[in-house]
């Protein structure tokens, strides 16, 4: 390599102080997370709110990465930023009635929300300042921050080190049962969602039904419109896109004037 003396002398004359990257990155991510969280509250356009929320959650994921919790950070990106927020924006776009909807909050709501938020902030700050010292990992714990102990614990095997003071032979349970219960819950939710979103069969009405429905015109019109809108679709995704023609043409008639 190059002789080290000349660059070193040049470096010493630089008026730049040594940067502690860990601290400065922490500050950067923290400021972005907090500022965007405030911006979510102050913005009045729903999609902009969602955008600020993405930035805030992404900066939080950055904090997780900075702390070495890579699995948690990637999880945050995947679930909140990638999944939930895309669905949120998607829903906003599907349900909006006019372009660039602005949400105006009434003064009473602002005061109420401010009080609730201040109370929450007080509780959080108090508990944050009560932490005496940030705990280091237990001696002999799995030191490299990997997701393996977590995954093995979900399978019922604990590979992380026991807590300090605990006898080495103590049986420690994994998280297999809670994991399974949560999985079954999610399966139930999935089946329910598929049931709700599936296409309704179109039946040819019997004469007696037509006669009965003609007496109440309002109920008949509502049922016929719902069946016609969902009959062409076979799944939730298609139902959503089948509706794009009706909602988006109402959403963007030519921009804000």
């Amino acid at each position: 390599m190059m002789p080290a003396t000349l660059p070193m002398t040049l470096l010493m004359t630089l008026p730049v102080a040594a940067i502690n990257w860990h601290t400065s990155l922490f500050l950067l991510f923290a400021v972005v997370a907090c500022a965007c969280a405030v911006a979510v509250v102050l913005a009045d356009n729903v999609v902009r709110m969602a955008f600020y929320l993405v930035l805030s959650l992404g900066a939080t994921a950055g904090l997780f990465f900075l702390a070495g919790a890579e699995f948690l950070g990637a999880m945050q990106l995947m679930i909140y930023v990638g999944g939930t927020l895309v669905l949120l924006v998607f829903g906003v776009m599907l349900t909006a009635q006019s372009p660039f909807v602005a949400i105006k909050t009434s003064t009473g709501d602002r005061v109420l929300a401010g009080m609730v938020g201040a109370a929450l902030l007080a509780v959080l700050l108090q508990s944050a300042f009560r932490v005496e010292a940030w705990q280091l990992p237990a001696v002999g714990a799995v030191t490299a921050p990997t997701a393996t102990p977590l995954g093995m614990a979900l399978l019922g095997v604990r590979v992380d080190a026991p807590a300090a003071g605990a006898p080495a032979t103590a049986v420690r349970s994994g998280y297999l049962l809670p994991f399974e219960i949560v999985s079954v819950h999610l399966l139930v939710v999935l089946v329910g969602a598929a049931y709700l979103a599936r296409a309704k069969r179109r039946r040819t009405p019997r004469a007696i039904d037509v006669a009965a429905s003609s007496s109440s015109a309002s109920s008949a019109s509502s049922s016929s419109s719902s069946s016609s809108s969902s009959s062409s679709s076979s799944s939730g995704g298609v139902a959503a896109t089948a509706r794009e023609a009706s909602s988006s043409s109402a959403l963007v008639p030519g921009g804000r004037r």
Partner: protein, 419 residues
């Protein structure tokens, strides 16, 4: 590299880290930008040949190889337009969001052993998660453009990407299960050896699921026949209808970057990573784990291997694009929900039972008593068995065992890494 700068060159620590980060970032940026230049030219030529044309022939010489550069200059000098009714901030930011997502995913993508921006032990998961963020730029672009064509494209993109993340995740899990790690470096290390040790040929189920992965990857990077978000025949240009000039080219760079990324991911997960079909370096007695010149040479060779594999993947995507007609949105959804997801689930279960019947690393690890299982329960590459009870530091087997409860002093010294 940071260690080298600190110890050998003598830079202060903060400057060494900065230099390392800047070098890695610039290299990744060049992979994306240079790759886009080459691939756009290749796409023009391939499209032309498939359609029985010649494609660009004049710019820069015989094969028109300067065409992409000329395109770039044209894009730079174009007027930057914004529609009157657009949401200005989101309209301006959207291309950068797409590009940033594509760029960030490259950070943890290894090009060879040790040639990785930031080695994460959840590398696969990180790449897939960040790749999913690219759709956000597309959605914002479609919304902020104040054009119904853009909005149609964005909503199709959202529906498509959210749906295709499910089978894509399922495909990616299978190599993770076989390797017992989410670290991309470890996964590729496991496939060292002859071509038969690639996960593509591990068992019939992985062979099938590789093709499911290819389908889902093409769909998730929004390429034909799944390019409904920019369907020219219906939506003018889809989500980037209102974009011009440099912002538009950012979308394209993101697209070509993502194509290269999913191809490199396929190479790492199924096609042996940076290990060639014939273990040339191993036969010559060289090892990539060592820090000397020979090791460096082997790593460069591996880097070339991976780039060739990923570029082949990109070329195959182009071939698909110019061969198949575009699907309808309901056909796209049916492909995902009715075919890809069930096939991926069945193949996942099959690969799992295959792994149970022929006990590999994972099963052996599970049958160990609690407390003894650790990161090193995996089999080393090339059939070398790593005994997890002692820390092996053979240069050929770069599996690090750091968490030995027996040596508490060693563990203590490793804890203090954060400044």
């Amino acid at each position: 590299m940071a260690d080298f700068l600190i110890n050998t060159v003598g830079l202060p620590e903060w400057l060494a880290w900065t230099t390392t980060a800047v070098v890695a970032a610039v290299l990744i940026l060049n992979v994306i930008a240079g790759g886009a230049l080459v691939f756009i030219w290749a796409e023009r030529k391939i499209a032309a040949r498939i359609q029985d044309r010649l494609g660009p022939t004049r710019t820069g010489g015989r094969f028109g190889w300067l065409q992409s550069l000329a395109d770039g200059i044209k894009l730079l000098t174009k007027e930057d337009l914004m529609p009157e009714g657009a949401d200005g901030m989101l309209f301006r930011l959207a291309p950068y969001i797409s590009f940033c997502a594509s760029f960030c995913a490259f950070i943890s993508l290894p090009f060879a052993f040790d040639f990785v921006g930031q080695r994460l032990n959840v590398g696969v998961f990180f790449v897939v998660a960040v790749l999913g963020l690219e759709v956000f730029g597309v959605i914002l672009a479609g919304y902020a453009s104040a054009s119904k064509w853009s909005l149609f494209g964005a909503m199709r993109e959202a529906a498509q990407v959210v749906s295709y993340e499910v089978p894509l995740g399922m495909c990616v899990v299978v190599p993770v299960m076989l390797a017992g790690s989410m670290d991309l470096v470890t996964i590729a290390e496991k496939q060292a050896g002859w071509v038969s040790s690639w996960y593509l040929f591990h068992d019939p189920f992985t062979f099938v699921i590789f093709w499911v992965y290819v389908t889902c990857a093409v769909a998730s990077v929004n390429r034909a026949p799944f390019d409904l978000a920019e369907a020219e025949s219906e939506l003018v240009a889809g989500f980037h209808t209102e974009y011009s000039g440099l912002r538009w080219s950012f979308f394209f760079m993101a697209e070509y970057g993502s194509m290269f990324l999913v191809s490199a991911l396929a190479a790492l997960l199924f096609l042996g990573g940076w290990n060639g079909p014939i273990p040339v370096a191993h036969l010559l007695g060289l090892s990539e784990g060592t820090g000397d010149t020979a090791g460096y040479f082997v790593r460069l060779l591996g880097c070339g291997n991976l780039i060739v594999k990923a570029s082949l993947g990109v070329l195959i995507m182009m071939w698909i694009r110019w061969s198949l007609p575009r699907l309808r949105i309901d056909q796209v959804m049916a492909t995902c929900l009715k075919y890809c997801t069930p096939i991926a689930a069945a193949m996942f279960a099959g690969a799992m039972f295959w792994q149970l019947a022929l006990p590999g690393g994972l099963v052996r690890g599970l049958s160990r008593p609690a407390g003894e299982v650790r990161e090193g329960w995996l089999e080393g590459p090339g059939g070398l068995s790593v005994r997890p009870t002692k820390a092996v530091s053979t240069p050929a087997v770069p599996v690090t065992l750091v968490d030995d409860p027996g040596s508490q002093t060693e563990a203590k010294s490793i804890v203090q890494v954060a400044p």
